[in-house]
């Protein structure tokens, strides 16, 4: 199973703001370059983007979870 990894450490969010819908829903498709998640670190919110297009199978982290650099954040099916 392919995954997308965190490119930095910090706190993980799957949506742009607390009330917003997730960037991508489980089972939903995404395009190359599309934002998948936010990671908060060094007092900034940084977008994690997909390198390739595909389908998001499931999130491996909850909103607000701590995430380490290189940790798998979502499982994906490559298109």
């Amino acid at each position: 199973m392919a995954t997308i990894k965190a490119t930095m450490p910090g706190v993980f969010y799957r949506r742009p703001s607390p009330e917003a819908e997730p960037y991508v829903k489980e089972g939903g498709g995404f395009a190359a370059g599309q934002t998948i998640a936010l990671i908060e670190v060094m007092k900034t919110f940084n977008e994690v983007r997909a390198d390739t297009s595909g389908t998001l199978v499931r999130f491996l982290l909850e909103d607000g979870d701590e995430v380490a650099m290189g940790q798998d954040i979502v499982e994906v099916d490559a298109a």
Partner: protein, 328 residues
Amino acid sequence: MSELIVHSPGLYTTVQDTGRDGHYDIGMPPSGAMDQYSYRAANLLVGNPEDAAALEATYIGPRLEFTDDRLVAVTGADAPVSRNGEPVPAWQTLAVRAGDVLSFEMITAGARIYIAVGGGVDVPEYLGSRSTYTLTGLGGHQGRKLAEGDRLPLGEAAAGGGAPREGAAVADALRPAFWEVTPVRTVVGLCSYRLTEGGTRSFLDTTWKVTKDADRVGYRLRGGTLDFIERQQPFGAGSDPANVVDLGYPVGSIQVPGGDEPIVLLNDAVTGGGYATIGTVVSADRDRIAQAKTGDQVSFEPVDLDGALAARRDRRQRLDRVRDALRS
């Protein structure tokens, strides 16, 4: 005009040098490379003076294109480096030509990458330093972190040879270690009298975790609580037991607002304020904490002033050994 073209800036990449020393009295922190050892070693690898301006990249390395023949070296955090997509070693002198592109993969250990280029990054000096202080937007490249499309002016590489040849390397023994728990030697003092005995013990015995907010300003840590001695706060001090009337903050000093999350003040920090500082990380070990990531662990190891000075001398001697080995 020789330039470095920024294809992608990484997450937080700035121009830094030894720092803007000598202006603390006007509230100006030094800024400068957080890991001075790695930064200076990178300069030595390309034949620069130790204090030439270089790039510091946090968590994600930049992608850079060269516009002429240069020497370049990468030090600091462990991250696979490539020249035109081909892996090249870190901690070594590399030669690049016009059109060559330097890029990085994900960091595997440490937090900050240093990239030195022969001739140095030739942005204008501000108060005697090229270091970027982003909070007030001064120094470095337009006072900010790098952005896609930036073109950085480069200086003239030192004439007369003497620069290391491609492949010259810093010996493994002279490269910094990365720890499971980063030990930072600390002189306990200044306002440490404000802690209870248990508070001091807790400070030294706790393994602290670096929180998400850690940056060039300071490292907030989590993992324990520190009790302050009860007292009637003096006139002019705030009501938090961690408040004092007013205090200058040494670079590397540690304050504990509320008594539960110590903050180590670093290169871009405020120079004074109203919190008790209970100790100061020795200058040599600011290099170590600079390579600790959010989520990493650190512990404070007490040393006296002699221990702090010995640590500083030891770092200087290690850099001298790097220089001497590259000369021969």
